[in-house]
């Protein structure tokens, strides 16, 4: 029961942080608050027992993401351009989507109930089978690396492609690069 309360509190803190991020116009302050958001979401994942996800969030959100935000801030201005125009169409769309989503809640099975569709199809097979078939204690690694090997391969390729994309956008051409090295030496 305590854990549920803790979850609720952390979710409230997340909402507060999100609103605060939205309100800031200084991009640097936004970056700071994004760091807090990532710390909070890692805590939330810990509370939900998603240890591996929390680990990823801890490693990526607190360290790399913040640094990359700062790196891109170096290319642009700090201040957000404020537009005071309120778009009626946008507001209506958002409200309608919100109503639809809230309506959709009725259909969602209860939180953590044993006969959820998620838990009745493959999870059984993974949980029972993995110790026999794969023999490593961490189920998440077994699923990611072995049962869903194709998925993970796809993810790795996505990361690799992202790196190539950034290089094509920001990387300097080879000649330039050589010149730089010589100048530094």
């Amino acid at each position: 029961m305590t854990v549920v309360y803790i979850n609720i509190i952390i979710l409230c803190l997340l909402v507060i942080t999100a609103i605060a991020i939205n309100q800031q116009d200084n991009l640097f302050a936004t970056t700071m608050l994004t760091g807090i958001f990532s710390l909070l979401s890692a805590s939330l994942f810990v509370c939900l027992d998603a240890v591996d996800v929390a680990f990823t969030e801890a490693a990526v959100g607190a360290g790399i993401a913040l640094i990359l935000f700062l790196g891109s801030l170096a290319f642009i201005k700090y201040k957000e351009k404020i537009e005071n125009k309120v778009s009626v169409f946008g507001l209506i769309t958002v409200i309608l989507t919100g109503i639809l989503l809230i309506y959709g809640i009725h259909d969602i099975p209860g939180f953590g109930v044993a006969d959820n569709p998620v838990q009745t199809h493959l999870a059984d097979k993974y949980i029972v089978g993995s110790s026999k078939e794969i023999g490593i204690p961490n189920l998440v690694t077994a699923v990611l690396a072995s049962y869903r090997g194709y998925d993970t391969l796809g993810e790795v390729v996505v990361i690799f492609t992202a790196g190539i994309g950034v290089l094509m956008l920001l990387g300097r051409s080879r000649e330039n690069y050589k010149g730089l090295i010589e100048r530094e030496d």
Partner: protein, 136 residues
């Protein structure tokens, strides 16, 4: 940051620790939380700390950008290579059972190697991103 003596001394102490911790995460993904992805990010962040404190020029001397680029590709190659080896051994693509005599040992070996490939690619990509975003 040449005038930050304290930062530099602490960085010199802490960078090896971060690297070792990353490798620990890499190889204990079977037992606890962690695995290639997280380890790669942590490993890259130790290089990024070095780059931040001692300057990008020195980081470039330690690890050349073209080396990082090839190692990112090499990680993907390791992953796919395991799949091809399994095909050659008579199994399906990425079916690790055929890598060794017993199925379980084969799974162990396969998972360890592909996790290494994932870690290599992720770490290299993060360092590539840092190089790309850093102004020379």
């Amino acid at each position: 940051m040449e005038h930050h003596l304290v930062l530099r001394v602490v960085a010199r102490i802490i960078i090896p620790l971060i690297m070792l911790f990353a490798l620990y995460v890499q190889f204990h993904g079977d037992y606890g939380p962690g695995g290639g992805f997280q380890a790669g990010v942590i490993f890259a962040s130790s290089f990024i700390l070095y780059g931040i404190i001692f300057g990008i020029a020195k980081l470039r001397q330690v690890i050349h950008p073209s080396f990082v680029r090839s190692s990112a590709a090499f990680g993907v190659l390791i992953y796919v290579g395991v799949g091809i080896v399994t095909i050659l051994n008579g199994g399906e693509f990425l079916n690790y059972n055929v890598l060794s005599q017993s199925a379980e040992a084969g799974q162990h070996i396969g998972i360890m190697i592909i996790e290494f490939g994932v870690g290599l690619t992720v770490a290299s990509t993060m360092i590539i991103l840092f190089f790309a975003f850093a102004k020379p």
